[in-house]
Amino acid sequence: MRFIARYAKELEENFEVITLYDERIDKELLSKEKPITQTLSRKYPVAIWFERKMHDDFGIVFHDAFDTRPLVHQERFPQGLHPLLRAFNQVHLDASKYLPYKYEAIDGDGVFQVAVGPIHAGIIEPGHFQFSQAGEAILHLEVRHFYKNRGIEKMLEGKTLQEAKPIIERISGNETLAYQICYRDIYLQASQQELPLAIAKRNALLLELERIIHHLTDLGFIPNDAGFGAALTFASRLAEDARRKLQELTGHRFGFGAIDFKNHSIDTLSFKAWLHALQKDVLYFQEWITDIPSLWDRFDTTGILSFDEAIKYNVLGVVARASGISQDRRLNKFYIEHGFKMASETSGDVAARFKVRLQEIINSIEMMHNFLQEDTTSLSLESVKDGEYMSFVESSIGELFMTIDIKEGVIERFYVRDPSFINWQALHLMMQGNIIADFPLINKSCDLSYAGNDL
């Protein structure tokens, strides 16, 4: 059984802890006076971040957990505050006394610690990586995040779905279309409406366009982190072209606001021509890059995540498919009819993740041909009914899960689990036997979101 997410909400008398697997949902009520329950982290290691987060958010205690340090709250966060409680309504916090965070560290003769971040050398999002090193070799890595925590969950409470939309589409910029489609599906469930096929096709086309922009960017940055800058120059040009196409289709370079239950006219001829040109360029790139042995010397056997570990840590998306797991939310009738093929590699290393991205770009181009059509269907939205709703989308990183509870027409609880939240927890497994200089390369090969993780 695959673990998907674990989260809590506050009811009148109780807390409810919800655990979601691919095969079932467990719900447990805890008293507010003594909110204690059993940890799942012994069986599902990635449950630990979910549980540490629930402690920060609500004050829920997990018995027998192997790690009870704060997760979202950092050194200067006021003690004893749980911002997701209804009673909490402060809009400003004063920094309190600095309480050091105890990092996971390996001791020993000559073993030393390297602290990296939160601000990094390049233009990337903030997060902290703490290494235990024996010379160049990495003994252990602790990933520590939540520097970007913007209190999104709390911010959305009390809003209508319409009011929440512009915020939801800005949770993780490079996955905005996936977030918007998750939101779309929840809206449709709540208004009990069916999505016309023509709109589903346009939305799917935009999602694949987002995926190829993300993958193309990585096809440049991964070799760049191995010292091969020419690939970045080549791939970043293709990524820029694709981003301009997205702007042409949606009026925005990232597609903010693009999933709007309407179809807009598309110049299918020029789009097709562009797809053909892109395919030619990507195939050329593939042939060129496959032929550079010194690069594959860096990629092969670097940052391996074995199949067994990938299963144990319930990893998602590109990372899962590169370690031999056939898991993708697009594995359904709609996508298969439009040409979806599951990407797959088994070596679990940087090379495998790179190849999965290449396979997916080629498949996405094929699917975009099939999604493309001239159409101007639109759907007028009905009002929403109260209830608990869930949706899933395969973002460019992996499975995105969103849930919204609506009560009296407004959001009572919003929760979203970015695939990054799970995959980050498996990153340390890829470090064993690698040198610290390869960390950026391994990290980039997974290319996870910090913003979506931190919320």
């Binding site: 200067r76 809009v91 050398a121 925590n149 709390k154 040009r237 990232f254 050329y284």
Partner: protein
């Protein structure tokens, strides 16, 4: 590799669409001239993300793609604040990032400037102020220039860089 060089020779230099090209050329020329004069040929920028959605960072990265190629004009994104002239600050200045953003700024040698990037730091993006957010940034830092947009596109970022350089004496 031989294929690569063949393609390179066949395709030559990739250029922009005509309209964009002329606009870009004018901006690029002036940036280059002024950076040479006022910053001895190199303007060093330290980008700090204080809680963005990551689209603003993506647009900064796009500045280095072959279309915009900012480095060619003498504007560099540097790894350490100690090498920087300007801090380019994106995001909502979260509670958790506030001390780190301040640290980074303190490390920049004077004279130094802050440019804010995107609607987030000035609280013009759709986010609402709450316990986790310390923006607007102006309440915590002295901001010299602002680049509006959600996110501002690479051309808009370059335009404000130019405006900034023009004003510096």
């Amino acid at each position: 590799m031989i294929k690569f060089w063949n393609k390179r020779v066949q395709e030559g230099i990739v250029t922009e669409s005509k309209e964009l090209e002329s606009e870009l050329t004018v901006i690029k020329k002036e940036i280059q001239e002024r950076v040479t004069k006022k910053f001895a040929g190199s303007l060093a920028i330290r980008m700090v993300d204080s809680g963005s959605c990551n689209a603003c960072e993506a647009e900064c990265n796009a500045l280095s793609n072959p279309y915009y190629d900012l480095e060619r004009l003498g504007i560099y994104f540097v790894a350490s604040p100690r090498h920087a002239d300007v801090m380019l600050l994106s995001g909502l200045l979260t509670f958790n990032m506030t001390p780190h953003a301040k640290d980074a700024y303190a490390q920049i040698p004077a004279p130094k400037w802050i440019i804010t990037l995107g609607d987030c730091p000035v609280m013009q993006a759709p986010f609402e102020k709450n316990y986790a957010i310390n923006a607007p940034v102006g309440e915590h830092f002295h901001v010299t220039h602002h680049i509006a947009g959600c996110p501002p596109n690479p051309l808009e970022i370059m335009q404000v860089f130019l405006e900034f350089i023009r004003k510096i004496s």
